[in-house]
């Protein structure tokens, strides 16, 4: 059993990379727009299907379509955001709760539409990377690193670094951080809140859709995969503390490690329960996440 330990760690880190990509855009969107998007998993699913159809149509490698998927869904996000804005800025009712219910409805609609249009079968995205893997043997230990998972991790880190650069070094990032900190004050300082919100939302939707392409290549895709992905995005973001971006990578890797250890050393069907138990305990001890930095 112990010989599998390095493999478990590596699997955990690679899995953590996937969770990182699933949740980083989501965390950003929460931090700035203060809405929980129940449709995060559905955006990922739709992105994966766009990738699938593009590859089937052209016959090229799925990875080549990442920019196209990003652009398409960024545009979709740009036009969806005003609707959410309308719900959250409504004078009546409880805007935050209503936004939750609204995205919940959005998620149901997407899932239903996907099941209608794409069917219920499981597909896989063809990519050259899927064939390759690295293999080491070191004494009693052996490790396999599938290239496509490694690519997923690299993509996750690249997105994280890119977002960090955007937020910390550019004027747009300054505006986003200002809006996240205090919307009204940022507006008084001349930040266009509407536009910043729309940019953040379209960034988030685009990143999520690109993630879908990776998940389709690494695991598989089907029209019903949305809720589980949303669930993991929520887990990560709650662990990290809602809206606390630097906590997201650590929480993702922790979650990936928990899951890979469970898969290898215990019963795979108990994985989700184990993850939920961890979440439960952490919420008990510190409701604002691992780092006590959530809002």
């Amino acid at each position: 059993m112990l010989t599998l330990l390095p493999q478990a760690i590596i699997d955990g880190l690679l899995l953590g990379g996937i969770y990182l990509t699933v949740s980083i855009g989501f965390s950003l969107a929460y931090g700035v727009l203060h809405i929980i998007d129940f449709a995060v998993g559905e955006w990922i699913m739709l992105g994966a299907f766009l990738g699938l159809y593009l590859t089937a149509w052209t016959g090229w490698d799925a990875m080549l379509f990442l920019p196209a998927v990003f652009v398409v869904f960024a545009v979709v996000g740009w036009f969806t955001q005003p609707l959410i804005q309308r719900v959250t800025s409504g004078a009546k009712g409880r805007p935050v709760l209503m936004a939750l219910v609204f995205t919940f409805g959005l998620a149901l609609t997407f899932r239903g539409a996907a099941q209608t249009v794409f069917g219920i079968f499981t597909h896989s995205l063809p990519t050259e990377l899927a064939a390759g893997s690295w293999y080491w043997e070191l004494g009693p230990f052996m490790m396999t690193v599938p290239l496509v998972r490694l690519a997923g991790l690299v993509y996750a880190l690249a997105i994280t670094v890119g977002l960090t650069y955007l937020l910390k070094r550019t004027d747009l990032g300054l505006a986003i951080r200002a809006v996240a900190q205090h919307k009204d004050a940022a507006g008084l300082m001349g930040v266009n809140i509407q536009r910043t919100n729309a940019v953040v939302y379209s960034l988030y939707v685009g990143i999520s859709a690109m993630t879908g392409v990776f998940i389709g290549a690494i695991i598989s895709l089907n029209s019903g995969m949305g809720p589980d992905l949303s669930l993991f995005a929520f887990f990560v973001v709650v662990l990290a503390g809602m809206g606390y971006l630097p906590g997201v990578p650590w929480a993702s890797f922790l979650l990936g490690l928990i899951q890979s250890f469970f898969l290898i050393f215990f019963n795979p069907s108990w994985t989700l329960l184990a993850v939920f138990t961890v979440l439960f305990l952490i919420l008990l001890v510190s409701p604002t996440g691992l780092f006590r930095k959530g809002v």
């Binding site: 009546k92 939750l100 409805g105 899932r111 809602m242 069907s269 329960l273 919420l283 008990l284």
Partner: protein, 349 residues
Amino acid sequence: MPDTVWKKCVVVAGLAVFLLSFPLLVRDAFLLRLFTEALMWIGLAITWDLIAGYIGYLNFGHGVFFGFGAYTTTILFTKANLPFALSLAIGGGVAALAALIIGWPVLRLRGAYFAIATWAFGRAIMQLALVLDVTGGPDGMRLPPFLNPHFFAYVMLALVGATYIVLWVLLERAPFGLKLKAIREDESGSLAIGLNPAKLKLQALVLSAAPAGLIGGVYAYWITFIDPSSVFGDLVTDQAVVMAVFGGLGTLIGPAIGAVFFLTFKTYFWAYLSDFQVLYLIILGVAIAACVVFLPDGIWGAVTRRQEGRRALRKGLSLNQRAAAPPAHPSAAGTSVRPSVRPRDGEEE
């Protein structure tokens, strides 16, 4: 205002007579089934609304309590050979206990955290029901059929009727409802005026879970087959959410109207368009989203708003005509309605 009280009494009595005599008069098994199912959804929608509409917490794991009741009742009834009534009572108790255990940590979370935690909890429990042996895993469980639709119609009627009355007394007549609304309006504020939000929220969650569990138990015996996706699945919660949001949050009558309306639609949809099953999910989703955007107060909210507006207008006119001392102020309209009945006071922030 004795006139409106009189009117209300007539309406309530008429409704009671209708509900009690409906199963006796109707010989059509389909209509009776629809009746029972409508009652079931009314029960689920109002218990969901107790948390969502009155405290402002979105419980996306409401189906869990329904499922707990269904599974506990089934296991005790079929495996331990307990009588049905006892199994049902224990099923409700288990649901309440689950609410207590889960609510203690989860209710400390606010807003979105709470919605996520309950949703995750629901999915985790469904996973648990899929892997355990005692629940039969994905194969589900069977109950001995008891083919008496009238029995189930009356049991469901008694259960949901009792739930409705208890909730109405507690929420609209007793201070309990006002306390919950205080938490909804401002949780820290309610703490400051000496309420104990943690305790109140837990009481409310247990109060919403127990009837859901009982309804689940009756449902299991009525349908005679349960599996994890039918009782723990998202669809149970989703439909309760649609009904409550569509009917109007923060009232009891709203979700009940929403439940009847939506169930009728659903039944006819399945009857005539069952080739397009997946469309149902789209319609459900669009209905939720559109309600939030266009009808944030639900049907009931829109109707009462309009009446309130008319009453205000009439009152204002009569005041002007009499040239009474107090000027006709729009907010004076509210005095004709009990403050506790109006769901959305003081939210013009």
